[in-house]
């Protein structure tokens, strides 16, 4: 019960295509968990099931102690989510977007203003609040989206590829922030394609064609398999854990290792 996320044998099928098969993992509160895996491997699908917006075909999961099947609304109230797709309102200003999400999370009056000020300071939005979102650069848009997800002080922050297409400086800012939030006790679940980002997570899950082929702390995993970087480690797992999967042949031939 003390786990932030407890996932047991999650399966998701779309028609007869299995996007996620038998994913099991557990994260204690206050930790950062990273998902790494190629495009279409099922990261977003797992995340959506944990958010309570996709119904798992099989298996069960509790998030912050609530069942994803029966108590999705309890979960939604307590998590902050940043979807992979750009999801701000283009024709609203930064401030108006923040106001909207503050309202959606039932913050009002003084509270809403206080939270908004806090978030603006946290993210460093400063004098950009009156700018139209459409006029922002990609990195700034992502920062605003993160701000919107933090307004209600969520216990769990779920970020789906927050740094995709973002410049290195903004990436650094993002991750400094993630670590800061985790230190303050927030649990963070984040998916990424960057191994340097993944390296700084407390827990790491390798997702490969719907399966969680490895799970653990980056240090432990590297040590136990005697690899000194995550790229090698990932290739190693793909070859060993999913060698029966014809799709990993392409990866091997790609000659990354």
């Amino acid at each position: 019960m003390n786990l932030a996320i407890d996932c047991q044998g999650l399966v998701k099928r779309f028609g007869n295509y299995t996007a996620v098969q038998g994913v099991t993992f557990q994260i204690p509160p206050g930790k950062i968990m990273g998902f790494v895996g190629p495009n279409g491997s099922g990261k977003t699908t797992i995340i959506r099931m944990l958010c309570g917006v996709l119904v798992p075909t099989e298996g069960q999961a509790t998030v912050l102690g609530f069942d994803v099947l029966t108590q999705p609304e309890e979960i939604k109230q307590r998590i902050g989510y940043m979807s992979q797709k750009f999801s701000l309102y283009d024709d609203l200003t930064v401030g108006e977007n923040l106001d909207f999400y503050a309202g959606v999370y039932n913050l009002q009056g003084k509270m809403a203003r206080a939270e908004k000020t806090r978030v603006i300071e946290l993210i460093g939005l400063g004098d950009r609040t009156s700018q139209l979102v459409a006029a922002l650069s990609g990195g700034w848009k992502q920062r605003v989206a993160l701000g919107c997800a933090l307004l209600h002080n969520p216990q769990l922050l779920i970020l789906d590829e927050p740094t995709a297409g973002v410049d290195p400086v903004t990436r650094r800012v993002f991750w400094d922030l993630i670590h800061k939030l985790a230190k303050e006790g927030m649990t963070v679940l984040v998916s990424t394609h960057y191994m340097d980002e993944a390296d700084t997570c407390d827990y790491l899950g390798f997702v490969f064609y719907g399966r969680l082929i490895a799970f653990g702390s980056p240090e432990d995993m590297k040590k136990s398999e005697a690899k000194d970087n995550l790229d090698d480690l990932f290739i190693y797992y793909v070859e060993h854990e999913a060698s029966d999967d014809p799709r990993n042949l392409a990866l091997k031939k790609g000659g990354r290792g």
Binding site: R48, C51, G52, V53, L54, V55, P72, E73, K76, Q77, I79, Y81, S83, K85, F86, S87, L88, Y89, D90, Y101, V104, Y105, N106, C148
Partner: protein, 380 residues
């Protein structure tokens, strides 16, 4: 000059076919809709006025008067099915729209016919719809003339001499509402309903689809917001917009076209707002079902087009085949037209309009409920 390449052309053609085949809804719409509309409209565009519900006040109750009623029925224009006593009842029938014409036969009808005098019969016609009224009036006049000639010749035979120049039977027609039969008076109130419906339904039908297309829906479903909150939150701004646009269009009708409502203006606004909410609910329902804005627009048209013809906007519903009458009954505009025309032309109050008003209420509640239900907070 560039040459036309058949392969490129063929590839595009194939691709488009695949697009269309994958999109079932559009496919069905593209094929079935034109046929369905052609069939429906083909029936609906029928300016022949037939079988208008008619009420009779037969004060004479003689063989002659009954024969006259039968002749009226035989014209096919009127169905004298309801018998009443007194003007008040007649007014009730006409006000409520249960009858569109009334025949009043005086007590001395039989005596005058038999006594070689001129008998006067009054025929009242609901002039709200001038086309209908005109058709009925000429039919009645024809009937009067025919009957008179018949009687004239009977009398000639009986007496051997002519009985004077005046016609034995004088059918006096009077137009009840909209006495100078201006079609504008009939059309403007209805147009108000139709235009409101088109604009508002179109606007709201985009409201939710747009979120889906922009990707903001994906963020919204992960928040604690409830479907009904979202629905009503999206609905209310459009109620305001709709109310403003409705007020403007009514003022235009009143001041520009000089079509002044005979009845209560507050009641008119109250019931028009009710209609507005119903339309908004339709828009929201469309929006929560449609996946793209284009789909939403197509669905809106499916509702709008039949409204024009089946609601009684152009053609009287009474003269349509039963099936079309039932279809028309499924459209909120049908009820709203009865309401606006009732208030504008007849000046009737809620005592005659409560049924239509309740029907609109029911529409609004049911549609909103379905829309909220349809809008699920999952991405499955």
């Amino acid at each position: 000059m560039q040459r036309f390449v058949w392969v490129r052309f063929g590839a595009v053609l194939k691709k488009e076919f695949i697009h269309i085949l994958r999109d079932r809804a559009s496919l069905i719409m593209a094929i079935a809709l034109p046929i369905v509309m052609l069939i429906i409209f083909g029936y609906a565009i029928n300016t022949n006025v037939e079988h208008l519900p008619t009420v009779v006040w037969d004060q004479a109750q003689t063989a002659d008067s009954r024969e006259l009623i039968t002749s009226i029925r035989n014209t096919q224009y009127m169905d004298p099915d309801n018998y009443v006593q007194g003007y008040q009842e007649i007014e009730g029938y006409l006000d409520s729209g249960k009858a569109r014409a009334a025949v009043i036969i005086p007590p001395d009808f039989g005596k005058k016919i038999q006594g070689m005098e001129q008998a006067n019969v009054q025929v009242l016609v609901d002039g709200s719809d001038p086309t209908v009224a005109r058709a009925v009036m000429s039919a009645v006049q024809m009937l009067g003339l025919n009957k008179s000639l018949e009687l004239q010749s009977e009398r000639l035979v009986a007496r051997g001499t002519a009985t004077g120049l005046e016609l034995p039977l004088n059918l006096v027609t009077r137009v009840w509402y909209n006495p100078d039969m201006r079609s504008r008076v009939f059309n403007i109130p209805a147009l108000i309903g139709l235009i409101l419906q088109s604009v508002i339904a179109m606007l709201t039908s985009f409201s939710i689809v747009r979120e889906k297309e922009r990707g903001t829906m994906e963020q919204l479903v992960v928040t604690p917001i409830l479907p009904l909150e979202l629905m009503l939150g999206k609905l209310l701004p459009y109620v305001v917009i709709g109310f403003v646009s409705m007020s403007l269009i009514m003022l235009t009708g009143i001041f520009w076209f000089g079509v002044v409502p005979v009845g209560s203006i507050p009641l008119l606004f109250l019931l028009a707002t009710l209609f507005l909410v119903t339309i908004l609910a339709i828009g929201l329902l469309i929006s929560s079902i449609a996946k793209t804005q284009l789909q939403a627009m197509q669905m809106t048209f499916i509702i709008l087009l039949p409204s024009i013809l089946l609601s009684g906007f152009i053609f009287p519903r009474e003269t349509m085949p039963k099936l079309l009458q039932i279809l028309g009954g499924l459209l909120p505009l049908t009820y709203f037209l009865k309401i606006v025309r009732g208030i504008f032309l007849k000046g009737v109050g809620i005592e005659y309009l409560w049924q239509d008003s309740l029907t609109l209420c029911a529409f609004a509640i049911i549609l909103l409920a379905i829309a909220s239900k349809k809008f699920k907070k999952t991405l499955d």
